[in-house]
């Protein structure tokens, strides 16, 4: 029986059709999918913090409203994704527990602090730009519920990137101090943004299997290159310098060459030694615990309705 089920699964993947929740799937596929979706969901939830940090200090009502909408979207994206993970048998409460106990990871980018308001713009431009690069191909993930969640998310991310770029365009038209803030934020977020695509292909042992399963559509290095090529003209238009002396157009390759990424830093941040790891998890844990009375009150109210 298992053989025919497995054949059916393989044929579905081979024909580029979608796997749906109650289909038979190999344990390793299910596990990998849960890990990928959970890690993505956690990233959205933790990703609320760096920008949430600036809501009360946004410089105008317009900017504040935009920032609140954006942070609400991140929460929404986390919820779509937790919902997709649950179709694979993951338990919501358990996923929360895995995050706040540090047993499941989230994107290393959110372990960097947001020191100035320009960071809000640069996060929209670079971090959300990199996320879009990563996520657009995932709209064709072989796992149906994840692919559908990604379609919704990508539509909304476009607003995130554009509001960030527009914010930066406004700042670079301002004072010298404001232009310096934009350059400084770019300097701090450029390399961590390149790290968002994950380790180089020759150090990414799971890539081949993930590509075969259709849960990854391009390699880390391909996506990183695409992001660099997309971003260079945007930086020029903005009048900021990307902090890489080796960055230049390579006529023969038809791509930009760029300098080596500091993978030691990447590994250190993944292992918990980034500037904000402890703070992010602690904040999430506290928010969850402080929300306990709301959950209990809702339970009590629901119980009252049933009597």
């Amino acid at each position: 029986m298992t053989e025919t089920l497995e054949e059916h699964f393989d044929a579905t993947i081979e024909h580029d059709r979608r796997i749906e929740p109650r289909d038979w799937m190999p344990d390793a596929y299910r596990k990998t999918m849960i890990r990928q979706i959970a890690q993505h969901a956690h990233s959205e939830i933790i990703g609320m913090q760096p920008e949430g940090n600036w809501i009360t200090r946004a410089p105008s009502l317009r900017r504040k409203a935009i920032l609140i909408a954006k942070v609400q979207d991140e929460a929404g994206h986390g919820m779509y994704l937790y919902s997709a993970a649950e179709t694979l048998g993951a338990d919501r409460a358990e996923l929360t527990e895995m995050l706040i106990s540090g047993r499941q990871k989230y994107s290393s980018i959110f372990n960097y602090p947001t020191l100035t308001y320009a960071d809000v713009g640069v996060i929209g431009w670079l971090v959300d730009g990199a996320a879009i690069c990563n996520q657009v191909p995932l709209c064709r993930s072989s796992y149906g519920p994840y692919a559908r969640a990604m379609v919704r998310i990508c539509k909304e991310e476009s607003f995130h990137q554009r509001q960030g770029y527009e914010l930066l365009m406004t700042m670079v038209r301002g004072t010298d101090a404001q232009r310096e803030m934009v350059q400084d934020a770019t300097n701090r977020f450029w390399w961590p943004s390149l790290m968002m695509f994950g380790p180089p292909d020759d150090q990414s042992p799971n890539t081949a299997q993930s590509m075969a399963w259709g849960i990854k559509r391009h390699t880390n290095d391909e996506l990183r290159q695409r992001f660099v090529d997309m971003t260079v003209p945007q930086a020029q238009k903005l009048g900021v310098t990307l902090p890489d002396p080796e960055l230049k157009w390579n006529e023969q390759r038809g791509h930009h060459d760029f300098g080596p990424v500091d993978w030691d830093e990447f590994m250190a941040v993944i292992k918990g030694n980034g500037p904000c790891n402890a703070q992010r998890i602690e904040h999430r844990r506290r928010a969850h615990e402080h929300g306990a009375w709301v959950r209990e009150a809702a339970d009590a109210h629901a119980g009252k309705g049933q009597r």
């Binding site: 749906e20 109650r22 289909d23 038979w24 909408a69 609400q72 979207d73 929404g76 919820m79 779509y80 919902s83 997709a84 649950e86 179709t87 919501r92 409460a93 929360t96 519920p145 559908r148 969640a149 909304e156 969850h288 929300g291 959950r295 209990e296 809702a298 339970d299 109210h301 629901a302 309705g305």
Partner: protein
């Protein structure tokens, strides 16, 4: 975030004239709360004019294991399709 809140499946009517379509799920303490959460989660940009929430446990679904035999009855009835019938090309309005 859930404690033991039940799961609700969410269906949206995008605009008048369209069917409700499944968009995802969420946890809520009761159906009223599920409806409010569905509004906040799935219609932040006017994606819907009507929402249904259904407790996931109340849905009865066909099993993927028996998918082939279950849908077999419709597989061999090609005469249900208009293309089954050969009509000369010069017959108008068919």
């Amino acid at each position: 975030m859930s404690t033991g809140w039940p799961l609700y499946e969410v269906f949206l009517r995008g605009k008048r004239g369209l069917n409700h379509v499944h968009v995802g799920s969420l946890h809520a303490a009761d159906a009223q709360m599920a409806l409010r959460h569905a509004r906040d989660l799935y219609t932040r940009r006017n994606e819907g004019v009507s929402i249904w929430v259904v407790a996931a446990g109340d849905i009865t679904a066909s099993s993927p294991d028996e998918k082939d035999p279950f849908f077999d009855p419709s597989g061999d009835k090609v005469y249900r399709h208009p293309t089954f019938y050969k009509i000369p090309d010069d017959v108008p309005h068919m």
